[in-house]
Homo-oligomer: 354 residues x 2
DNA sequence: TATATTTCCGTGTACGCACACGAAAGCGTA
DNA sequence: TACGCTTTCGTGTGCGTACACGGAAATATA
């Protein structure tokens, strides 16, 4: 049992035999190198096509000592940017898988509050060279410049988490922001039949955070589309510490006592949850983003009702894999890859990501 | 760029050098074959551990011509059992990936309404032999017998979609039924604040469908846990044609005009949706299971509000991969692998499975 | 015609491992 | 001592491919 013979895929040897040449010549054709007459080249190519020859990945990787260097440039992980822990884990998973294929990953982390740190690293990457880049283009202008330089240097690059308009990236892998907001509104619509809904944006650099805006637009559009009479109140909070947030929210709730639910447009939802808890406000629907430790804590307690999550780990994983598939396997990569929009509740968070 | 040398993982050669033996001897130790003195065996093993030696998968697979035959036994796909299309796709994806590693999959499909077809196929599998089995144990008794026989024949097996109590499977990969019901109740609880909720079981073989019961239990438990005063009405429908379903539901709605929402415990939710549509009943919350074509149609229309889905494709994929990891990579497989519980709505179905 | 240059192609080795084969050493027996 | 058997281990070959090297033939140059 279990000794059946493989369906005898033909290899270079067989091709060489049929073409009456040596395997060396076949090899030259396969890697379209020079040194083969046009006649034999065409002959061999036709045989390759006829036999539907596919190289043995094993032997190929074994024999070639070609190593590739991928480079990633994403925000560093801090309390402020815990989100980026997940993509990094995905990247490291891909790294593990691809290590035996001779692929190495150089990791650079920039400070999301410091454009210069970003630019400095892009310069370094261009100087050192790279075979493929994975980029989180937080700073739009600077990122555009960088990818243009990559283009010139013929380095393929993949964007994750945010897209860059009108650039020729190998692929964009990230969230569908609009729909995640739209979906949140749909969920809110089930629980809230009257009164108001509060949309909360919490960010130090609010004006540059197109993420939040897209989600908010999606959220508002739902109510517009459905002709629902719920009023949407908005609160922009430009500091991320609990004290400031508490202060701002108190004011909003004082002004709008009939708020029935809250939609936080990013992962800072746990701060809002803490406010509600401390202010002993219960029975308010609370929806926010991202599978972070604090958020899950509040989800378990029931303070947060729904977390919308877009598989941040897979963003990193798939980003690296896209480079691999393009550069090693010569596969065609889809230009835009939206991540699924996952709804996390108390009941399913434990199996999320299984 | 891109020609850096691999971090020089040590191979058999290096181990042999350090142990002052030939690679042949090292090889014997690695595959714990006979023909090595106890002394050198221990020496070599210690060096292996010290160097954290990991064989080069490429070279390993290349040099060994060992082929494996996996066998799957799952329900055939029909209009009645469209669900099983997805696991099969996952299995075929795994098959594609593993083909270059010399793994072949023999596929057997039984009729879910015919115990004999199942038993017949199990006999055939045992007669033909196999290196690993993937089983959907729809018929509990017969499946238990089969896996016992596998045990005796030392064939590892993986169960998908339903578990079998007290058997020594390599792994169970499938849904967490109870929590999917519990989650559904939670969702229903948002929209329904008074009146009744209807639980609908639709199955020809209802008494043997432990799936439905588990989900229903989860559903009921939620309301019990939360002390919610919503009353749960139950309808068991033992025929699957639309006419019969319509008839039964009409009776239920006549008896309970204050039903606010419906929970269908399996994928037949689209039939209920069609009933609601035809009876022009709107504004009833409708929750059901599975990413099937008909269900998605109704989801798009808004008749169905939520579909609970447990990545059926991945169940097949991961099942095969578990066999591979166990037999080829000698990895340890987790005994129970619950699939994530996904919530599908109009907004996110399009990106589901990305 | 002899020699240099180019074009084309075959040979050999290496990649890391599996495994068959046979050599050498140790042991006992006649 | 001679012989055979067992235990222990080294050598060699092959898996399918990549690539360096060098040889032969074709062409150009003197």
């Amino acid at each position: 049992m279990g000794k059946t013979h493989q369906p005898e895929r033909a290899g270079v040897k067989e091709i060489a035999r049929r073409a009456n040449v040596s395997i060396g010549t076949v090899d030259r054709v396969i890697h379209n190198r020079t040194g083969v007459s046009e006649k034999t080249r065409i002959l061999i190519q036709s045989i390759i096509k006829e036999l539907d020859y596919q190289p043995n990945i094993m032997a190929q990787r074994l024999a070639s000592k070609k190593n590739l260097r991928f480079t990633i440039l994403i925000p560093g992980v801090s309390a402020e940017t815990e989100f980026w822990k997940a993509p990094l884990i995905g990247i490291e998973k891909a790294e593990q898988e691809l290590k035996p294929y001779g692929i190495h990953i150089e990791k650079y982390f920039f400070d999301q509050n410091d454009r210069k740190s970003f630019v400095g690293l892009t310069k370094k990457i261009l100087k050192d060279g790279s075979d493929g880049v994975l980029l989180a283009p937080s700073f739009i202008g600077e990122s555009a410049e960088f990818v243009t330089a990559c283009q010139v240097a013929k380095i393929p690059y993949v964007l994750i988490n945010s897209d860059l308009p009108e650039v020729d990236s190998l692929s964009y892998i990230g969230p569908d922001l609009f729909n995640s907001g739209y979906l949140s509104a749909h969920l809110a619509g089930y629980a809230i039949k009257e009164g108001k809904v509060l949309v909360v944006n919490i960010s130090k650099d609010l004006d540059n955070d197109h993420h939040l805006l897209r989600k908010e637009t999606g959220f508002n559009t739902y109510f517009k589309d459905k002709g629902i009479s719920i009023k949407v109140v908005r609160a922009d909070i430009r500091q991320t510490d609990d004290v400031f947030i508490t202060q701002q929210l108190s004011a909003v709730f004082a002004a709008h006592p009939d708020i029935q639910g809250i939609f936080v447009t990013n992962s800072r939802v746990s701060a809002v949850a803490r406010y509600l808890q401390q202010a002993e406000i219960t029975d308010k629907l609370l929806i926010g983003f991202d599978f972070l430790k604090d958020n899950i804590e509040q989800l378990k307690k029931g303070t947060i009702d729904f977390l919308i999550c877009q598989k941040p780990q897979e963003q990193g994983y798939k980003g690296i894999m896209a480079l691999y598939q393009h550069l090693i396997l010569n596969e065609v990569i889809e230009k835009v890859h939206f991540m699924p929009i996952d709804i996390i509740t108390r009941e399913n968070y434990a199996v999320y990501g299984n």
